[in-house]
Symmetry: C2
Subunit: 142 residues, 2 copies
DNA sequence: GGATATAATGACAACGGTTTTCAGTGGCGC
DNA sequence: GCGCCACTGAAAACCGTTGTCATTATATCC
């Protein structure tokens, strides 16, 4: 019997058609489960400090590759690119402007409204390109 | 009798508490009525070529000042900051991924959905920070 | 309307994030 | 285990943006 580990970078890389290298696994593992997107510089610093030294160039290239195959989503953290490991299923992003956390919102909460918007304006929304900024439940409590 | 011109940079600057300089007026006039946000480099190039030479530093500072007082909104055009003259009234941004045009959407189309989202997820949306990407009506026709 | 304090401008240099280059290394198929 | 080819990493180049400082224009007071 095989268990289903919550996160296996190696498998994700292979099924995406990317070579499974130590550096890519490290980047993917670092981003796994993080609510907040991380910049290339942050990833490089944290990997070098806590895991093993890695070239900054390699970080940038790994992030590009991973984003190209859809394993990472790109966000804008005041002018800098930041990367986050997102689920494969379509979803919307709720972005907390206080803690920068990204909450994934299931699309069924939105689809009916989006179709109404389409009828109303003629604009054809791209369902997985909806970014909504606000305050997350955790930050709103404080 | 006084007519009401559609766009008076000078008045907008003064009522925002900014000094009305030729450079700021030029930047504001260039952005007036543009659907697509422009980058600082584009603004500098177009002003220098078509209107009058202007320092690149001045363009950046004018854009900062104008954005600070809310006359311009800042967008992200694949990694670069881009600026657009937006209406003073609250609105959502519908961003065309094909032509980069930004359509302003009146908030009443959205507010009811946003409050539902709040009840559903605990996330407190910031109504004027909703960016929705898709295809504008003009591009969808082609 | 003219003088003056103050803020804005512009050329240049510096800064920081990102990309390119190129030689060396390691993953993956045979 | 071997070899091809993609991946890696250090350094330099690149490019958008910001800081510096002397000059100029704006807004205010008289």
């Amino acid at each position: 019997m095989t268990t289903t580990p919550p996160f296996v970078p190696d498998a994700q890389l292979r099924s995406a058609g990317l070579a499974s290298t130590a550096q890519r696994r490290a980047v993917l593992a670092l981003l796994a489960g993080r609510a907040r997107p991380l910049t290339a510089q942050e990833i490089h610093a944290e990997l070098t400090r806590c895991v093993r030294p890695i070239g900054l160039t390699t970080v940038y290239r790994a992030l590009h590759s991973l984003a190209d195959v859809g394993l990472l989503h790109i966000f804008d953290l005041d002018g800098q690119r930041a990367y986050r490991h997102c689920g494969a299923t379509p979803h919307q992003h709720l972005i907390c402007t206080r803690c920068d956390a990204v909450i994934e919102c299931p699309p069924d909460v939105v689809t009916s409204w989006l179709s109404g918007l389409h009828r109303h304006t003629g604009f054809v929304p791209h369902p997985d390109r909806l970014d909504l900024r606000g305050t997350c439940a955790a930050c709103a409590d404080t």
